[in-house]
């Protein structure tokens, strides 16, 4: 599988976005367009997941959900240990950054689905449910690590101990807009009658791929814009943004293939769940819950490093690895 694999419109539009900014084109999206597109994509994927859920095997669904939670807790802890190795990155930033890797980038996940759709490869739909589940555990781990760090810092400084406002932070994590939208759309997709859903399909299914192209074009420009901050972010973090998806993706692949018994398609999707870093659900939670961390770090990593890496390298890589691993 060569270059051909990524010659699908969605990925090409992403590349076009990056290219436009690299040649310093003045191409620009109007305010609000990307927000609108990402609302659309979350609803569409939620409806799709819900409709599938209605036909899902309960046992495997529950098993998937449990593994999703494990993934969501495990990846950030590994990430944190890497970032804290030799005290490279301070505690607060390490906590905030790694939380992003425990969660998921819907854009990357959808690109992987587009990749499978266009290549005509079948895939299990449980990963869609896993994606929804994975939005929150990572946030909780991030807040927890930050709270611990905060305590340690305050003991060192012997200053007054500021209690972490757990209740409001957890509320924030669980009522995050994208979480509510995904779960809501999923429930609607599951309880609506198939006839009713069919009327929504031209909107949610048929134009989906085209809307994804538009979204990725914009994200390509945004990724390239973020790349300018590489210098400020430093080589350690940029390296982390490439190593972490490799680790997370490998764990995801093993979980999907060995523990959930998925085929190549489903395995690629879980690998991408593991590999990708959230840039919609987690950043707000960290802004709110870990104000001491610098948003520039985590946004640059998630959008400027890991996202383009996954779209351009991660998807074909884990696709080939999955074929090899599953045999």
């Amino acid at each position: 599988m060569g270059l051909d694999a990524i010659l699908i419109p969605a990925i090409l539009f992403f590349a076009l976005g990056v290219f436009a900014k690299v040649i310093k084109s003045d191409l620009k999206f109007p305010e609000g367009l990307s927000k609108g597109l990402s609302l659309y994509l979350l609803i569409a994927i939620g409806l799709k997941g819900g409709a599938e859920l209605a036909n899902a095997e309960l046992g495997l669904a529950i098993k998937s959900i449990m593994w999703a939670i494990v993934l969501g807790f495990l990846t950030p802890i590994i990430g944190y240990m890497i970032l804290r190795f030799r005290d490279k990155i301070d505690r607060m930033n390490a906590a905030a950054i790694t939380a992003h890797y425990g969660s998921v980038s819907a854009g990357t996940f959808l690109t992987a689905i587009a990749f499978l759709d266009v290549s005509g490869i079948e895939y299990e739909t449980y990963p869609i449910i896993m994606m929804v589940v994975m939005e929150t555990p990572a946030i909780i781990i991030g807040l927890l690590l930050a709270a611990l760090a905060r305590k340690q810092l305050q003991q060192q400084e012997a200053g007054e101990t500021v209690a972490t406002p757990w209740k409001s932070l957890l509320h924030e994590a669980l009522t995050n807009g994208s979480v509510v939208l995904l779960i809501g759309a999923m429930v609607i997709g599951a309880i609506s009658s198939p006839e009713a859903m069919e009327k929504v399909y031209p909107f949610s299914h048929e134009i989906f791929m085209g809307v994804l192209c538009l979204f990725l074009l914009d994200l390509g420009m945004e990724a390239a814009r973020r790349m300018k901050a590489f210098k400020e972010v430093g080589v350690t973090l940029v390296a982390f943004g490439i190593i972490m998806p490799l680790i997370g993706g490998t764990i995801g692949m093993v979980v999907a293939a060995s523990f959930l018994g998925f085929g190549v398609g489903g395995t690629l999707l879980v690998a991408i769940l593991g590999a990708s870093a959230s840039y919609i659900a987690v950043p707000p939670a960290m802004r709110m819950g870990v104000p001491e961390a610098n948003p520039s770090y985590y946004l640059t990593l998630a959008l400027g490093v890991t996202f383009p890496f996954n779209v351009l390298v991660g998807i074909p890589l884990f696709y080939n690895l999955s074929i090899w691993y599953i045999g």
Binding site: D218, E222, P283, R287, P291, T300
Partner: protein, 103 residues
């Protein structure tokens, strides 16, 4: 008829919009104007693509005293690490009935 007031402007992350509105409520401030802005600063590029990288600007006309109360509350937040960018200017209010009432 007109009166002297302070125009205070607060630029903060979209994420913290409700946090700031709660401060208004706490201080009994019921009137304000707000709109979305982009920006760059210590916390990096705020390009307006997602909630997490969008800013909001609040614009309030207040009496000097009320403004100082608000600044104090905002500074408590700033000490916790939140990035609110706050400044004020002297203004003259020209809407007559807005001069009668405090706040």
């Amino acid at each position: 008829m007109s009166c002297e007031q302070r125009l205070i402007q607060i630029i903060t992350s979209n994420i913290l919009e409700n946090r700031v509105k709660k401060l208004f409520k706490k201080l009994g401030i019921k009137s304000f104007t707000s709109f979305g802005v982009n920006g760059e600063g210590d916390t990096g590029l705020q390009s307006g693509h997602f909630d997490a990288d969008s800013n909001v600007l609040f614009m309030l006309l207040l009496s000097e005293e009320k403004m100082l109360e608000l600044v104090e509350e905002l500074n408590k937040d700033i000490q916790k690490g939140y990035h609110h960018f706050v400044f004020s200017l002297n203004a003259q209010m020209h809407t007559p009935y807005k001069c009668k009432s405090e706040v």
